[in-house]
């Protein structure tokens, strides 16, 4: 019985990853400091590093496209600041 329930709920749960990164020409103060530190630590082959945010989101939904819509809305409303950031959504299988 319990197994059955779990199965059901698994069916309805979709998992997405969202990455939020600074737009190309926007200053990334964190990335700058991290880069210098890594080079000081001996990573001479490091060319560039940019830092962003990462989210793993699970939602209840049957319909994948609807789910994706939901995620998109979350990004626009809260997770990303579209003035300076871009975001990418991916489904995690």
């Amino acid at each position: 019985m319990e197994k059955q329930l779990q199965l059901n709920s698994r069916k309805n749960k979709l998992k997405f990853s969202v990455t939020v990164t600074l737009k190309k020409d926007v200053l990334d103060p964190q990335g700058k400091v991290v880069k210098n530190t890594l080079i000081n630590l001996g990573m001479n082959n490091l060319k560039s590093i940019r830092q962003g945010k990462y989210f793993e989101i699970e939602i209840d939904a049957n319909d994948e496209s609807k789910a994706e819509e939901s995620i998109d809305k979350m990004c626009k409303k809260l997770l990303a600041n579209l003035i300076i950031e871009d975001y990418t959504v991916k489904k995690i299988s």
Partner: protein, 225 residues
């Protein structure tokens, strides 16, 4: 007695702590993070502030600096090390103290006076306080939410390594008096040898009645012989 205050780019309580140390007659030296040698010191202080902007994780980058390896050597030889606020975060990043400081549970920077209770005064740092004494101290941090593994938490309790806990003005330790979500209201801890103290509250801000109170001064008088 000689003290050294380590200055990282972005440290900003370095002057404040130097004032406190000199007030109790420490001969203090400021040590720049790029220095390769520590002056002879009985006490090393890692001050508060935003070393390297607190970028990546607070304390992470300072934890990799040149001078820190010297601090670690000194610590292992038994030198007294005090880390305040960002200094506490740096000590956890270097592994000299266990656990981590996560973001405050309300996700906001918090600056206010809180009450803390001396849990264990039996150390070189706190001998001039009484056990269970209640102090009023200023906190100012974004990441003061102490977290550690259950094993380590047990060790902290079993070996009496908790220095301070956040409490109410009457001494009650409860969730309402916990400003940042720290596990068991922990505000400061010792390492197992008790030669290292890390704490989030700022004792150096509590040494002058004109500014605040003098609840912090005994920490410094405890340390001076």
């Amino acid at each position: 007695m000689n003290s050294s205050v380590i200055v990282f780019p972005g440290s900003n309580c370095d002057r404040d702590i130097a004032v406190a140390l000199e007030k109790v007659q420490f001969k203090n030296k400021m040590v720049w993070h790029k220095d390769t040698e520590l002056p002879k010191s009985d006490l090393i202080v890692i001050p508060g502030g935003f070393s390297y902007g607190d970028y990546l994780r607070s304390g992470a980058i300072a934890g990799k600096s040149t001078i820190i390896s010297e601090v670690i050597k000194a610590a292992n030889k038994g030198c007294l090390i005090l880390g305040i606020c960002n200094g506490f975060q740096i000590l956890t990043e270097t592994g000299l103290l266990k656990g981590v400081l996560l973001r405050n549970k309300n996700l906001r920077f918090i600056n206010k006076n809180v009450n803390i209770k001396v849990i264990n005064n039996n150390s070189k740092f706190l001998k001039n306080y009484k056990k269970d004494q209640i102090l009023e101290m200023n906190i100012a941090h974004n990441e003061g939410n102490y977290f550690t593994s259950s094993d380590h938490l047990k060790e902290l309790n079993d070996k009496n390594l908790i220095a301070f806990k956040y409490c109410r003005s009457d001494g009650d330790v409860n969730s309402i008096s916990n400003p940042n979500g720290s596990i068991e209201n922990i505000a400061g801890i010792f390492n197992s040898n008790k030669n290292i103290l890390g704490m989030m509250p700022h004792p150096e801000r509590m040494i002058d009645n004109l500014i605040s109170n003098t609840d912090g001064i005994n920490l410094f008088t405890s340390l001076i012989k």
